[in-house]
Amino acid sequence: MTESNVVDSIDELVARIPDGARLALPKDSAGAPMGAVRALIRRGVRDLHLITVPTSGLATDLLVGAGSVASVETSGVSLGEFGGAPRFNAAVKQGTIAVRDATCPAIYAGLQAAEKGIPFIPLRGVIGSDVLAYRDDWKVIDNPFAPHGKDPLLVLPAIEPEFALFHVRRADRFGNVWIGVNGELAIMAHAAAHTLVTAEEIVDDDLMAEEGTAAGTVPAVYVTAVAQARKGAWPLAFLDQYPADDRHLANYVRAARSAEGFDDYLRHCTESADDT
């Protein structure tokens, strides 16, 4: 039905992301494309505008620490039980990146607005918070359907990433990717102009052939390119596939306390594609 979009390597995959791109990444716990993140750093990408969907952790910390990031729109960046994200936090305090603090449902809603091709979408809540106070791209309007009196309502512009980049368990040779219940990955793929995916395995079966697998599949029509990346979420845990590499993460947190320690870590950890 279409040419395959499967490419040979994660380096080839991420070569499509130019400096300055608006790049959406999923949260650390549901498909963070760590192999692709290392490949991006390896090729020296600059000035990325990250959108975390809706939060992030190590993926963002590595990119920020490597100097690849100009801005981050996020609802939260943290290494979870390993504590705060050291390079992200340092960059915010030094003012070397711009942060646009958001709240999880606002990021989902903005992406869903892009998915539906509508210029904005309302959201309840948020009014009176400093999250709103510091977002000059958000507005409060009067609900035009309020039955009586004023009903102030937050409206959010569509979030239109140029690229979505995430890791999945399985893709097929046609470029369909299986996301299972992680529906936010479908929203990202629908909203983004280009979607790049790494997969633990690329199977010969057609994921679209049976409705059982199709129901959890983002079809190739949304997928610009796919590359295989075994242990592509390492050192993070990846769904039911493998646990986190706790020792590696503990070492990372120690190293990344300082810029120098982080640079050391980076040299060891991104120098080749065969990084696990």
Partner: protein, 243 residues
Amino acid sequence: MQCLPEELLIATIADLLLGCRTVAVGVSSPIPGSAALLARAQSSQPLRVELLESLHGNSFTRGSVELFDRAAQGRIDAFFLGGGQIDGLGNINLVGAGEYPAGSVRWPGSFGSSYLYFLVPRVILFREEHSRRVLVPRVDFVSAPGVSEPGVFRRGGPYALITSKAAFLFDAENCRFRLSSIHPGHTLEEVLDNTGFEFDYTAAPAETSSPSAATLATIRGSVAGEIAAAYPQFAARVFPRHQ
């Protein structure tokens, strides 16, 4: 009955979930998660628990966006929020201390708080550290406000605040916390000394009830077993005999 501080907190929070049909628990929340599981075990009517952090502990089949949509649909009765700072108006700060954005400390960010605090009827604030560093006169950044102007759509807000020293209930009418009980081993003076905001209290506050033997058995039994799937490190530390 002898119990761990965590067990006291679990039992105290579980009592606040009485009557709920669905309780959702966010990331990094082993004690609230355990409390929700305990409430479910003790509830006479069906009580659903959605553990966001757990691969198999929730019923979301369309992605995490479902938590927020369900909250808006009125399908979530209780949720838990924390805060690097919490003030006497119930404002919470998950973003950072000092001037925004490049303040003295950066915390992770507001997550879903700016929204769920409005949409979920019963939001329980939980923060173990009870200090003037955390419980401040006024938060430096409002991730989510405790109260709203008249006319602002709001279905929920702060219901209680639980710390390692005490339990407060939020009086929405007067926009103030009221001390409801002090945990065993702590004093009113200690609570006053370590709370940076004003709150209502009586001269002789109640002591937080310790969990009964039956409750403790449930915590150490089915609750410990289930919470371990989502929070193995927590379970190994608090319920080592269960492992």
